[in-house]
C-alpha cells in the first residue's frame, strides 16, 4: 500500500510538473506582451522595456519558468531600488494588475471557494443521493416521476440562469432568503452569518449537481439491486431497509466517491459562474477577472492551483476508493 501511494504521488508530481510547463508555455506564446500591459495609458516603448526587466519578462522562457518554479520553494524578489519587495515562499508570482503577491490573493480567495464547494457538495450529496434512493426505491411511482422531472430540469438549466432567478426571486423580490452582500466571514468566526452568506450560492451550485447525482444514484441503486449478492442478502431474511442501507447503498454509492471527488476538485478550481453571479471573492471569480485583465501571473497560478487540486483529488479519490472497495486494496 505504501508502495502504491508513493508511486501514485510520484506520478501526480510528474503530471503537475508537465501541466505547469504546458500552462507556462501556453501563456507565454500568446500574442500579447505582458510587459506592455503594465504601464497603463502612458505607455512608451522605453517604459515597456523597463517593466519587462522589472518583472523579469526579459529573461529566456526556461529561466522565467525556473524562477517561477523556484519561487514556490524559496520566494521571489521583485522590483528594484526602494520599490523592491519580496513575495515569500511559497511564491506563485506577483500580480502587476493587483499589486499583490499572487499567493496572498489566493490565500484570500481559497477559503471562499472551499466553503462554497464543500457546502454545495454536502448539499448536493444529500439531495442527490436522497432523491436518487427514493426514486429507485419507489420506482415508477410519482416520487420517481417527480425526481425524473427534477433531473431533467436540473441538467438542462444553465447555472447562471438558476442563480440569477434564485437571487432575484428568493431574495430581492420576496426576501425569503435575506439579502447578504456582506463580506465573507469564516465559519469559525460567525457560523450563522457564514451560513446566510453561502446559502444561495450553495443552492445554485448544488441544483445542477444534485440532478446529476440523483440520476446516477437512481440507476446505480436499481442496477445494484439486481446483483446476486443483494439476492443473497434478501435470502438471509434481512429487513428491507438493512438490505438497502447496508448492502445496496454501499456497493451502489462507492463509485460515487470518484465522481464526487472529481466534481469537487473541478469546483475548487473555481466555480466561475456561481462566484460571478453571487459576487463571491473566490478563486473562480478571481481567475475570470484575471483573464479579463490579462493578469498573467494570477491566471497562471490559479490554473496551476486548479490543476494541482484535480491531480491531488484524483489521488485522494483513488486511495479512498481503495479503502471503500476491498478488491482494490491489494495494489
Amino acid at each position: 500500500m505504501i508502495n502504491y501511494i508513493s508511486r501514485r504521488l510520484l506520478y501526480a508530481a510528474v503530471i503537475l510538473l508537465l501541466v505547469s510547463m504546458a500552462v507556462y508555455a501556453i501563456f507565454q506564446f500568446l500574442p500579447f506582451d505582458p510587459a506592455a500591459l503594465t504601464c497603463g495609458k502612458n505607455c512608451r516603448p522605453n517604459l515597456i522595456a523597463a517593466n519587462r526587466v522589472r518583472l523579469g519578462f526579459d529573461k529566456p522562457l526556461w529561466e522565467q519558468y525556473w524562477l517561477f518554479l523556484s519561487g514556490i520553494f524559496v520566494g521571489r524578489d521583485y522590483g528594484v531600488g526602494s520599490a523592491a519587495f519580496t513575495c515569500p515562499a511559497p511564491s506563485l508570482g506577483y500580480s502587476f494588475r493587483q499589486n499583490a503577491c499572487v499567493t496572498d490573493l489566493i490565500q484570500q480567495a481559497l477559503p471562499v471557494t472551499l466553503s462554497l464547494a464543500i457546502g454545495a457538495l454536502i448539499l448536493w450529496l444529500i439531495v442527490g443521493i436522497g432523491l436518487g434512493i427514493l426514486a429507485a426505491r419507489f420506482k415508477d411511482s410519482p416520487i420517481d416521476t417527480g425526481s425524473t422531472i427534477f433531473v431533467l430540469i436540473g441538467t438542462s438549466l444553465p447555472t447562471f440562469v438558476t442563480g440569477l432567478l434564485l437571487l432575484i426571486y428568493l431574495t430581492l423580490k420576496n426576501n425569503i432568503i435575506p439579502l447578504n452582500f456582506d463580506a465573507y466571514v469564516s465559519v469559525f468566526d460567525n457560523p450563522s452569518k457564514f451560513f446566510m452568506y453561502f446559502l444561495l450560492p450553495w443552492i445554485t451550485l448544488a441544483f445542477a449537481f444534485s440532478a446529476i447525482y440523483t440520476r446516477y444514484t437512481r440507476s446505480a441503486v436499481i442496477e445494484t439491486s439486481g446483483e446476486d449478492y443483494i439476492r443473497t442478502a434478501w435470502a438471509k431474511g434481512l429487513k428491507s431497509n438493512v438490505v438497502l442501507r447496508k448492502h445496496t447503498l454501499r456497493a451502489a454509492l462507492a463509485p460515487l466517491t470518484t465522481l464526487a471527488g472529481l466534481d469537487f476538485a473541478g469546483l475548487l478550481g473555481g466555480a466561475i459562474l456561481t462566484e460571478t453571479i453571487f459576487n463571491l471573492p473566490g478563486l473562480g471569480r478571481m481567475s475570470l477577472k484575471a483573464v479579463n485583465d490579462f493578469d498573467l501571473p494570477v491566471v497562471l497560478a490559479t490554473t496551476l492551483l486548479a490543476a494541482t487540486i484535480v491531480v491531488v483529488m484524483n489521488l485522494i479519490v483513488d486511495l479512498l476508493y481503495a479503502v471503500l472497495d476491498p478488491r482494490v486494496r491489494v495494489g
Binding site: 449478492y229 443473497t232 431474511g237 434481512l238 429487513k239 454501499r250
Partner: protein, 346 residues
C-alpha cells in the same frame, strides 16, 4: 417423515412486451426432511424461477404467482404465495435457506466473510457480535475451510470459487434451516471442486436432516445426490419419480431423449449420440398440445389423442412415478428400457 414443503399447482408468469411468459405452469411437488428432491431441466424450463419463488425472491413487480407454496416451519405452515413480506422475511434464512449458482457474484464484495456470515446468524438469533463471530468460525470449519480464524476476516475476492461456495453453504446452514434450496450449486465450479461440494452437501444433510431442493441441469449431479426427481420441460413437470425410476425406467419421451443425449465417461464412446432434434418452444406462445410434440419421435405412434392439439396430463403410471405423455404406457416402458442409463454396467 416430516413434510417440509408442499408446492401445489404453482403458476409463474411474467408479462413482457411480446406477451406473457409462462415460466412455470402448474407445478406441484413435495419435500420431506432428510431427502433431496431434484428439479432437472434445460435452460428456460422454469426450474430457477421455481426455486426463487419458494423464498419469495422473484421480482414481485414483474411476476405473477398463483397456487400454493406451503412451507412447514417450526411456527406452523406458511403459504409463501399469499403471506406478507414480514412473515416471508422470517422464513428466510431460518426455515428456508438457499445457495446460488454463482458463488463469485453472490457474496458482497465489500464486506468481510465474517461480517456477512454473522449478519445471517444475527438476523435470526439476535446473538451478540462476539458470539456470532464464534459461530462463523465454527461454520467455516464445518464446511471445510482451513484456518477459519484467519479467513473469517478476509474478503470474498480472496477466496477461490470452491471456497466461496463453501462460504455460501455455511451462510445458508448457519441457522439450521429445515429446507435448503440449492440452485445449480456446482455449475460454475470445476469437476474436482464440484465433487467436493456435493459430498459436503450430502454430509451436511445427513448431519442436520435437511430437506434439499436441488435445481440443476446436470443429470450426473442428480444421479449422485437426488432421491426423487422432477423433470421439467417448458414450464411443466413432464416426469416425476424416484431417481431410479427416472434413470432406469423413464416414461416420458423427453426424459428418454435427455438421458440418451449425454455421453458418459463410463459408457462406450460409440458412434453418434442420439440427440433430441429441434429447439425448445417459446414460452410466450406455447403450442396448444404437448409442448414437446414437435421434437418427439413418438408423436406419430400416439393413438387416440393428438399430441399437437391435446395437452397430456401428469399421470401416475406407477406408484410414485408419473409422466406426462399420450403414448401407451407399455410402449413407453419398452422405449424407456432402451434409453435407460446403462445401469449397473460400471
Amino acid at each position: 417423515m416430516t413434510r417440509l414443503l408442499d408446492i401445489n399447482d404453482l403458476h409463474v408468469t411474467f408479462p413482457t412486451e411480446d406477451g406473457n411468459v409462462k415460466a412455470v405452469d402448474g407445478l406441484s411437488l413435495t419435500l420431506d426432511a432428510g431427502e433431496t428432491v431434484a428439479i432437472v431441466g434445460e435452460s428456460g424450463s422454469g426450474k430457477t424461477v421455481t426455486s426463487l419463488s419458494v423464498l419469495g425472491l422473484h421480482n414481485k413487480k414483474r411476476t405473477r404467482l398463483t397456487g400454493e407454496i406451503l412451507v412447514h416451519s417450526e411456527r406452523g405452515v406458511v403459504d409463501v404465495v399469499s403471506c406478507d413480506d414480514e412473515e416471508l422475511r422470517k422464513l428466510r434464512g431460518s426455515a428456508v435457506a438457499m445457495i446460488f449458482q454463482d458463488p463469485m457474484s453472490s457474496l458482497h464484495p465489500y464486506y468481510s466473510i465474517g461480517n456477512q456470515l454473522s449478519e445471517a446468524y444475527r438476523v435470526v438469533t439476535k446473538a451478540s457480535k462476539k458470539d456470532a463471530l464464534k459461530r462463523c468460525v465454527e461454520m467455516l470449519d464445518l464446511v471445510g475451510i482451513p484456518e477459519p480464524q484467519k479467513r473469517v476476516k478476509e474478503y470474498p475476492h480472496q477466496f477461490s470459487g470452491g471456497m466461496r461456495q463453501r462460504v455460501m453453504i455455511a451462510m445458508a446452514i448457519i441457522n439450521n434451516p429445515r429446507i435448503l434450496i440449492a440452485d445449480e450449486p456446482t455449475t460454475a465450479l470445476d469437476v474436482t471442486v464440484q465433487a467436493q461440494i456435493l459430498s459436503l452437501l450430502k454430509e451436511l444433510q445427513r448431519e442436520f436432516n435437511m430437506g434439499i431442493l436441488l435445481i440443476t441441469h446436470d443429470l450426473g449431479v442428480v444421479a449422485e445426490v437426488a432421491d426423487r426427481v422432477n423433470v421439467m420441460y417448458a414450464g411443466k413437470v413432464v416426469e416425476r419419480g424416484t431417481v431410479d425410476d427416472i434413470y432406469y425406467r423413464p416414461l416420458a419421451p423427453y426424459t428418454m431423449g435427455l438421458l440418451s443425449s449425454i455421453p458418459s465417461v463410463y459408457g462406450k464412446g460409440t458412434g453418434r449420440l442420439s440427440a433430441i432434434p429441434g429447439q425448445p418452444p417459446s414460452l410466450i406462445s406455447l403450442p396448444e398440445g404437448c409442448s414437446f410434440a414437435s421434437r418427439c419421435s413418438f408423436a406419430s405412434q400416439v393413438v387416440g389423442a393428438s399430441c399437437a392439439t391435446d395437452a397430456p396430463q401428469l399421470i401416475e403410471d406407477e406408484p410414485g412415478h408419473s409422466a406426462r405423455c399420450h403414448l401407451a404406457l407399455a410402449d413407453r416402458r419398452t422405449a424407456g428400457a432402451k434409453f435407460a442409463a446403462k445401469g449397473g454396467t460400471a
